[in-house]
Amino acid sequence: MARQSKRSTARRGRTFVETVVEVEGRTEKRVVELPAFEPAAWKADTALEIVGARVPRMDAHEKVTGRARYTADIALPGMLHALILRSPVAKGNVRSFDATAARAVPGVLDVLATGDAPPDTRLFTGKISYAGQPVGVICAETFEAAAAGARAMAMTFDAAPFAATFEAAVAPDAPLVRSQGNLMADSPMIEGRGDIEAGLRAADVTITREYRTPVQLHSAIEPHGAVAEWNADRVTIWESTQGIFRVREQVAAALGISQSNVRVIKHYMGGGFGAKNGAGAHTYIAALFARRTGRPVRCVLSRRAEQSDSGNRPATIQRVTLGAKKNGTLTAIVLSADIPLGVSGWEGGPAQIYHELYACPNVRTEETFAWVNSSGMQAFRAPGYAEGAFGLESAMNALARELGMDPLALRRRNFTRIDLRRSQKYSGNALRECYDEGARKFGWASREERRQASANPAAPASVVPSSSVASVRRGFGMAAQLWPTGGGPPSYAQVRINNDASIDVLAGTQDLGTGARTVLAQIAAEALGAKLSDVRSIIGDTETLPYAGNSWGSMTTPSVGPAARMAAEDARRLLLEAAAPMFDVQPGDLETKDSRIVVRDTDRSMTFAEVTKSLGDVMIVGRGSRGPNPDDVTIATFGAQFAEVEVDVETGIVRVLRIVAAHDAGRIINPTLAESQLEGGIIQGLGYALFEERILDRATGVQLNADLHDYRIPTMADIPAIDAFFVGTADTVANHTGARGLAEPPIIPTAPAIAAAVADAIGAEMTQIPLTPWRVLGALENQRG
């Protein structure tokens, strides 16, 4: 690896260097402490036995027996329950807040309202900027008592004019959503390369379309929640979070106490998908009440609050122009996008993938981010890229139709081996293999025969049941994906060999349901030469574990994985140094396998336990950290998805029959768990394509579908046959485990692939998701003219 030789001098002393890390599509420069050593990369042909194996999820037993403890399961003696009171108006002020009757409800202990929370929590300011905003909170002996207290509250509000849509927020006389104005600073954000005018002039064909994507809600089945307990001046917080250290930092800052006086614990969590990246109102409330009352407090969001005020993927309007030569070569890509973010958020817009996915010399994007009077956005699985892919990939499919070209051939024609946005190489890029393998498994080339067969009831049964209704049409579509996901420092890990030779991997990371516990144990067992059954991952506690960053940006495996490997290699080195005299050999003469130390080329061996027992109480502790990312190279995942659908042209109902998904994420540590993540992403993408859309009442700004009944996520009955798999091999440039991240990529191409298949079925383009029956019927109607 180039970076090892380049930095070898720096590595002798402890040095801090800068490295580039990509988080949720944003590039950040970070200072990183160089590790004492970095193991040589596990190459594609390195013989590995535990890494790459389909071992069962290591915490599955707890999960299937109901023993896994989630935040809301934490029940402490004397624990109180907090219930958040919320604003019914989208903008204005709390006019009156009378808690007298609520306080008189049996079991109600305390009420917090305007002015009762420290400013850094941004809670209860009295000013309202979206419907559903917390205005106060009730704390009671039981949840039922808190609910009764809430019913007894007398609150009135002054409602002011609000702007809940992009159009309303940018109107000349719009009410101010934020005091600095309704546009995010630096809006519009413009980025480009080449010469757009020349590119458009050079085009034989240009198309222009407007695409719209909805607000999508994370909808984790476990709502956000926290339990807090104080002990003198220290607080312990059990939190359902993707970032225990980030919650610690935020709580310490908001409460004005030191980080070492805040302990954040997360054993299990019921999904995050980006919405659980830090402390929230529930966290501060639990901590504040627990301090006031001297008793532990649990604050778990209601489903209504979860669906209306725990983050979302913002809506986008994307105006896209593509120019291409007759042979499909792109000459220009132009995007102008409007993104209403809510009252808070960041610039996770749709533009990035427009710069990255194709070999087009001329690209220009313009994104206008507006603040609107609705709940703030949060990162949601592949933020920006899922939205952007719907625009870009739908436009590519429209261009293919315009050119009379196979959409797959159009993508192959515009494949880029290098990252044109940053003018540098990719660490690895198997997108072409994704196209090839995906198309082969899908039967892309023979899709017309499938269509014929499906229209002919006498044809042999296909792999999927087909409707026999005469109004049902079959369609096929595809889309591609890219997602920057190399992970990066800082991340630390320790590997501890106990004196019975059981092995603990310690890292302050968290498992969202992704499989981090299993993956880290596999990596450590492989590096150490231990049996996997001897290894356990201990994660999710800021007080006892070394730092790791948030589990966002598909970063955990490529960030913490290398640290765990290095810690295991370090522990192995120590173990061999201890064992060498016992065999009267040099450490270099020893090998490890199956928790056994063997003198190379002999039959002399000892188990790890024999060695550690003879060491007495000495504990072997290996330390590892994540090194810097390689310079001048982009680390990304790639993928292609193919969809087959049926559309009933009389009812407008879309049924997805089949998704084939081929992805490249470098080395796969555990294919079974990784495939589960692919399937999960595809299913969320299917929801985005077909059903999911937050609806706000235009008159009041109140959300009309803040539940799981009217906000519909996919059920088991909606799921197509999914064939999701990986192509590609170890990425030895990215990091020494060869793995990139993979949780977010699969959601990216699903919606445009499904929309393309629907368009193919009905012969009319779909420019807005979700593809509800009325939108499908509307598209048919428009086409008839």
Binding site: G270, G515, T672
Partner: protein, 160 residues
């Protein structure tokens, strides 16, 4: 009132308005049954109530006098995992695991009614249990495998 939960009798006075879910979680210390919505929308709180599926979040505790309840904690017997539980482990049918207790209870009920459901029947019967992690394909596979008897006669040594 009297209530039998996972084969154990309890004498308990329900609080006014208390839901079966709260009673199980907070009073009988059986946290395996999960809160997802509180409105009968998600299935995370699914239990067997007198051998029928019930969303425990919308069942009033006081309506459960003399009832028999089975929760996720009652699926393994004498420390031996039920075949469905083994199937869920083997087929990776739990990602975050939060919906899993409800899924397993619903699947148990399905197989009790229909020992050999086909895929369409599994999908239909399980469609009241939401999973945001999208574990559905693996859950279908696991249920089908368990119904084939794949996990009936496995050793229980490593179970508990």
């Amino acid at each position: 009132m009297r209530l039998t939960v996972n084969g154990r009798d309890h004498e308990i006075a329900p609080a006014p308005g208390e839901r079966l879910l709260t009673l199980l979680n907070d009073r009988l210390h059986l946290p395996g049954t999960k809160f997802g919505c509180g409105h009968g929308e998600c299935g995370a709180c699914t239990v067997l109530l007198n051998n029928r599926l019930a969303y425990s979040c919308i069942v009033l505790a006081e309506a459960c006098d003399s009832a028999t309840v089975t929760t996720i904690e009652g699926l393994a017997s004498a420390g031996k995992l039920a075949p469905l539980q083994r199937a869920f482990i083997a087929h990776d049918a739990a990602q975050c695991g939060y919906c899993t207790p409800g899924q397993l209870v619903a699947a148990t009920h399905l197989l009790a009614r229909n020992a050999a459901p086909d895929e369409a029947e599994i999908r239909e019967a399980m469609s009241g249990n939401l999973c945001r992690c999208g574990t559905y394909p693996k859950i279908v596979t696991a249920i089908a495998a368990a119904s084939r008897g794949d996990f009936k006669n496995m050793s229980s040594e490593t179970d508990e």
